[in-house]
């Protein structure tokens, strides 16, 4: 077997191991909840007696049997969401798109701006640009993302003093506008400005800090001295020699950081009433809507595990050293 194949198999196997751990954890954690499970699963809504009977029959099966059933298909939950009285995976399916749109845009913007800031401040280490940029990124890094969102919402959404509110204060689209028309697309973009700005500002801090540290690591290397000694221009040394090597940790970080990205999505979607998975999580935990929480936790964990495996594989493609 080629070393590359072995490496790929190993990281996929490790991802599967983690997945199994999460599934087992997810099953037993919610079985530990105190009190009557029927009450927990149906909290605060009128449920027809036959539905309760079905739920009780489901929960009265031996634990091992329930567990094996869950293991065979974790997505087969027959328990409805207590809050929305709908199958949980239907609810989740409706919300995925909005989150991907918001978070995807923010990640793309943040990685572009973040790496640019990181490269520039590492290259001009200790100079004014670096001091300002590092101070700014450290401050953004120390900021609860939802607080930044609340401030932006008050200043640019509601308006303060003589400053009128310009942007919508929540939601994804003005009610009644057709989302497939041009006006609808523009309206969605208009609604995205504040939440995307918030998430971008918070995400880019980490990318900039990592990019800077990683480029500084490369800057002491001999091959850069050689490149300079050959008489290459500073710009070429940076762009062709230093940055490609320094990019590796940052690219991995962009993949590995999905857990951090999810946290941001949960709170920022809540602040801006963005109808995605984050707001759904908030609604589920305010219930608490146990069936929904369980499903969302599984989904987020799977997403992060996949991203980690992807990071491993991408890293192996970009850096032949780890394949050995």
């Amino acid at each position: 077997m080629r070393p590359g194949t072995r490496y790929a198999l190993r990281s996929v196997a490790s991802g599967l191991g983690t997945l199994l751990f999460v599934v087992i954890f997810n099953f037993f954690l919610f079985r530990m909840l105190p009190g009557d499970p029927i009450g927990l699963y149906t909290r605060g809504r009128n449920v027809p007696p036959e539905q309760i009977e079905a739920l009780r029959a489901e929960l009265d099966r031996p634990l091992v049997e329930q567990f094996l059933g869950y293991l065979a298909n974790p997505f087969s939950s027959t328990i409805n969401s207590a809050r929305f009285n709908q199958p949980v995976w239907t609810l989740i399916g409706e919300r995925v798109g909005a989150t991907l749109l918001l978070v995807g845009t923010a990640i793309v913007l943040a990685s572009i701006v973040g790496t640019w800031l990181g490269i520039r401040s590492a290259w001009q280490r200790g100079q004014r640009f670096d001091n300002v940029s590092t101070g700014l990124t450290l401050t953004l890094y120390s900021m609860p993302e939802f607080w930044l969102g609340m401030i932006l919402l008050i200043v640019f959404g509601v308006g303060v003093g003589f400053l009128p509110g310009m942007f919508p204060i929540g939601g994804i689209i003005t009610p009644g506008v057709d989302p497939s028309s041009l006006a609808g697309i523009l309206d969605i973009a208009w609604h995205m400005v504040l939440p995307v700005t918030t998430l971008t500002a918070v995400y880019l801090a980490e990318y900039a800090l990592v990019m800077r540290a990683s480029l500084l690591d490369e800057m002491g290397q001999d091959y850069l001295v050689v490149a300079r000694a050959k008489g290459l221009m500073d710009k070429v040394v940076r762009r062709r020699h230093a940055v490609p090597n320094a990019m590796l940790p940052t690219i991995t970080l962009i993949f590995m950081n999905l857990g951090f990205v999810i946290s941001g999505a949960i709170t920022v979607e809540t602040v801006f009433s963005w109808p995605g998975l984050g707001l759904l999580s908030y609604d589920a935990l305010r219930g608490p809507d146990i069936a929904l929480l369980q499903a969302i936790f599984l989904l987020f964990s799977i997403g992060v595990i996949l991203a980690n495996v992807a990071a491993d594989l991408v890293y192996a493609v970009l850096d032949p050293r780890v394949r050995a």
Partner: protein
């Protein structure tokens, strides 16, 4: 010994002196005294280095200020001032001479709430960090020290926890455990240890390869002796620098969890204040005085811990100092 190791450390030299001349008439300091003096000197050196870091000192000043405020909170604002029942102000009124930072939805002074919030946020941040550091250090040292299936198993376990996304896990745990201050501490502790464990394991592996551990083993030192007497003291400085950075993350986590309503409803942390501002609709009426102060405090304290942590890291790991500067 001198042949094998690159250079006998001061501790080895002290051992030799103590063993070779047990009853010397000269006043020879005992190995323990020597070790203590050496530690004092190295702490002094670290402080000298720390004082030269301007960001680190700025962080320290901010932190001391907040800690003082937190300690003095009951003196500055008697507990009645933050009670919902005894509130004297109008709901959500803007800053005025009586209420320098305005009032919340039940008419309590925001200034008093923010000062009291410093207590909760700092205590939860520090306590959660201690929990997480203990778990992380124990698992990390054991994962690095024991070869074979114990080490591998612990390492796997760490990797699993490292991958599970923090906030969803914390939400799920907090829901299962119930909303209270102690549970928040436990939840943050349980969810944030894997990073420390990984760092400690790496450091333990590098320490394990050093000659003084071979010497300890040759002299018959057991696993516990090796881990507590030889590995731990060498891993500790790194752990401490990391701890400072982790307090910052713990305070951010506490703020996020409390904002989501998972904190103790009776303890006004900064996150709980932001939750109050959010759920009472303070944002839609433009009550910036309710939202701004708690968040600024979080940023100040988290930034202070981060700056101190980075300065300490640069002292512990001199290779880093080149990077940061």
């Amino acid at each position: 010994m001198g042949l094998r190791g690159p250079m006998p450390g001061p501790e080895d030299a002290a051992d030799l002196v103590a063993v070779a001349e047990p009853a010397a008439p000269l006043v020879v300091p005992s190995s323990r005294q020597l070790a203590r003096a050496r530690r004092r000197a190295s702490r002094g050196r670290a402080w000298q280095q720390f004082r030269r870091s301007r960001p680190g000192m700025a962080g320290l000043v901010v932190l001391v200020t907040f800690a003082t405020l937190a300690v003095l909170a009951p003196v500055l604002f008697p507990p009645e001032t933050i009670s919902v029942v005894d509130a004297t102000g109008d709901p959500l009124s803007p800053p005025s001479p009586g209420f320098p930072l305005g009032t919340d939805e039940s008419g309590r002074s925001i200034l008093a709430l923010v000062v009291w919030g410093a207590r909760v946020s700092l205590v939860v941040g520090l306590a959660a960090t201690v929990v997480s550091m203990l778990i992380g250090t124990v698992i990390g040292v054991m994962a690095g020290h024991y070869r074979g299936w114990v080490g591998m198993g612990l390492n796997r376990f760490t990797d699993w926890f490292l991958v599970i996304p923090f906030l969803p896990l914390a939400i799920v745990l907090a829901t299962v455990l119930g909303a209270s201050l102690l549970n928040i501490i436990i939840v943050i502790g349980i969810t944030s240890w894997p990073g420390t464990a990984r760092l400690v394991r790496a450091q333990t592996l590098s320490v394990s390869a050093r000659p003084y551990l071979e010497r300890a083993r040759a002299l018959g030192g057991g696993d516990l002796h090796q881990m507590t007497r030889h590995v731990l003291p060498n891993v500790m400085p790194l752990v401490l620098a990391n701890t400072t950075l982790m307090v910052a993350l713990a305070i951010l986590s506490e703020t996020t969890l409390s904002f989501l309503g998972l904190g103790d409803p009776l303890a006004p942390s900064w996150g709980a204040l932001l939750d109050g501002a959010f759920t009472s609709g303070a944002m839609t009426v433009g009550a910036w005085w309710y939202v701004l102060p708690p968040g600024l405090c979080v940023v100040a304290v988290v930034l202070a811990f981060t700056l101190i942590g980075r300065a300490l890291e640069a002292i512990v790991d001199p290779q880093l100092s080149g990077q940061q500067r």
